[in-house]
């Protein structure tokens, strides 16, 4: 086991990692920018080292500074957290070259999954479904018909040079294909001076379903079920829940087993998440995140397993020590990401916390590095708290979430708490009836 872990991150996730270490009897080193000298994880860590100025580039993204801090403090391992250096293959490699353990996957796996095209190709070969489409440009209508028959309708025709919706057309049947194909090419030519188009199956209202995975260095891999992260705004997750209200038991087992098997085949070590789009009973791989996710918490709530502890354990070389059958699921969990931002305009709202009171009681977990009087710095991500609620049923969980949101007090800055209170009162949310576009549509309707 490690004696000392350096936490190369900040905010609530640094605190989360500190807690896991502390509970494992591992000493912690907090590295921080000048802007984070008063941060809670800095105060709680066994040692703290200031590694640079407020700018993330010169502190949390500063590889030499992080490695030097690990050297002077005598750390055994470095936990990269989420964001910052967590999916930087070069960093992972340098960490290991300098004789520290990188708490995460191999640089090779980070590299493979970091490139979308390579990632899709890799998992496709291992049997994971991806959104079907043309393998290259579709230059004739005849070719388009062929592709559409292979992928199935509806199909999306999109400009190779495209972006912003220009040169994108959907055909719901063979009847519509000719017109859509020609319109797309025409628009592409007009917009980009290039009428080359690609095609793929069109998903009109997919859900974002992801599988939490864990592999060890001995070829074992398990999954911890799925999370439904479809409540998004501008591709940012806002609320996540586990299990997904959209999956039935057979779908759940199918995708979980498939993802775990693929993980084992990859020889992947550490925690990771495979993200899928899900529509009409079908899953399509989007990407794999080779790190901890913000929303790992809800998986912890329904499995009682500390994923950061498991992540650290497998990084020491320990085998999983349990198999898929040993992982039991109980109840339902929902996470609300609380940001320091205006709940309607989404303007960031850094500043001094004036009054902080977290909700408590049965089934309520708060992961937050806030405290009364803390100053939320303007330099970083606006996530300031994760409210995570567990219940024996989805309904109990939602009722509990409602009362917890009522009790949560964060003064001094704008927060997204009012947005969360609003979302959970919506009939569609209550019924579990939403897709990745739902939140943005709901907000436009006001």
């Amino acid at each position: 086991m490690f004696e000392k872990v350096l936490i190369a991150n900040r905010g609530e996730i640094a605190l989360r990692i500190h807690r896991a270490c502390r509970e494992m009897g591992i000493q912690t080193v907090a590295v921080h920018s000048t802007a984070d000298a008063d941060a809670m994880h800095v105060r709680l860590a066994d040692e703290a080292v200031c590694i640079g100025p407020a700018s993330a580039r010169e502190s949390y993204l500063n590889i030499p500074a992080i490695l030097t801090a690990a050297t002077i403090t005598g750390a055994d391992a470095i936990h990269p957290g989420i964001g910052f250096m967590s999916e930087n293959a070069q960093f992972a490699q340098m960490v290991e070259e300098h004789g520290f353990t990188f708490i995460g996957p191999t640089p090779e796996h980070i590299r493979i999954m970091g490139d979308k095209v390579t990632a899709k190709k890799t998992v496709l070969e291992l049997g994971l479904p991806v959104v079907p489409g043309s393998s290259g440009p579709v230059d004739t209508l005849e070719e388009a018909v062929e592709v559409a028959e292979r992928t199935g309708y509806p199909v999306l025709i999109k400009a190779a040079a495209g972006g912003g919706g220009k040169g994108m057309k959907v055909a719901y049947s063979a009847d519509q294909l000719r017109e859509a194909y020609q319109l797309a090419r025409g628009e592409a030519r007009a917009a980009f001076g290039n009428d080359q188009v690609y095609m793929e199956r069109y998903l009109s209202k997919p859900r974002h379903i992801e599988i939490q995975l864990l592999g060890d260095m001995h070829g074992n891999a398990v999954h911890f079920g799925e999370r439904d992260c479809s409540i998004q705004r501008r591709h940012q997750k806002v609320i996540e829940e586990a299990p997904s209200p959209a999956l039935n038991a057979a779908q759940r087992q199918f995708i979980g087993d498939l993802a775990a098997r693929t993980t084992a085949q990859l020889g992947y070590r550490g925690v990771g998440t495979m993200e899928f789009l899900f529509e009409d009973g079908e899953f399509f791989f989007i990407e794999m995140n080779t790190r901890l996710q913000v929303e790992h918490t809800i998986t912890e709530m329904i499995t009682s397993i500390d994923l950061v502890r498991e992540q650290i354990r497998v990084a020491t070389g320990a085998p999983l020590g349990y198999s898929q059958e040993d992982i039991r699921f109980h109840g339902h969990a929902i996470e609300c990401r609380v940001n320091a931002e205006h709940p309607e305009t989404f303007m960031p709202s850094p500043g001094k916390i004036d009054g902080y009171h977290a909700p408590g009681g049965l089934g309520v977990r708060v992961d937050s590095a806030l405290y009364d009087g803390y100053r939320v710095p303007p330099h970083y991500d606006s996530l300031i708290a994760k409210l995570v609620v567990h219940g024996t049923t989805r309904n109990e969980c939602m009722m509990r979430l409602r009362r917890a949101l009522e009790e949560f007090v964060i003064g001094g800055v704008d927060t997204s708490l009012p947005l969360h209170r609003r979302i959970i009162a919506e009939a569609n949310f209550i019924n579990g009836d939403y897709d990745i576009h739902w939140l943005e549509q709901m907000m436009k309707l006001r």
Binding site: R43, C50, G52, P53, I72, D372
Partner: protein
Amino acid sequence: MATFDIDGDLVRKLAGLLDETGLTEIEFAEGEKSIRVTKGGVAPAFHMTGGFAPGGAPATGSDQTSPPAALGVSSHPGALTSPMVGTAYTSPEPGAAPFVRVGDVVKAGQTVLIIEAMKVMNPIKAPKAGTIAHVFVSDAQPVEFGEVLLTIE
């Protein structure tokens, strides 16, 4: 007029009255003169200062360094702060004479310390000419970003 006469007895009398009456402020003006005395005033709110009791984290884990002292001088106009995290060396090689000693006169640009980071030795140069007033680091001591290394006066 020219002088500003403070009547100590008057202040003492008013202080006594504050105590006696339990008041927190007395202001009194007559003609051109006025006096105001207050007591107690705003108690600072708690704000967790010093909270999170056990395992509290001092800097760098080094016993040699003295961050509280150094911290106080970080606003000193002649303070030279570390531009990086690393290990400070006060002399070019083990056993050699130090780059500078307290009392030495240095020129701007003169190397006063070395900081090692990532096996690279980074010379730290005096930002201005002057006399070394204080050296806060000892040889082979780990230093943080922004830590005061020495002062030049």
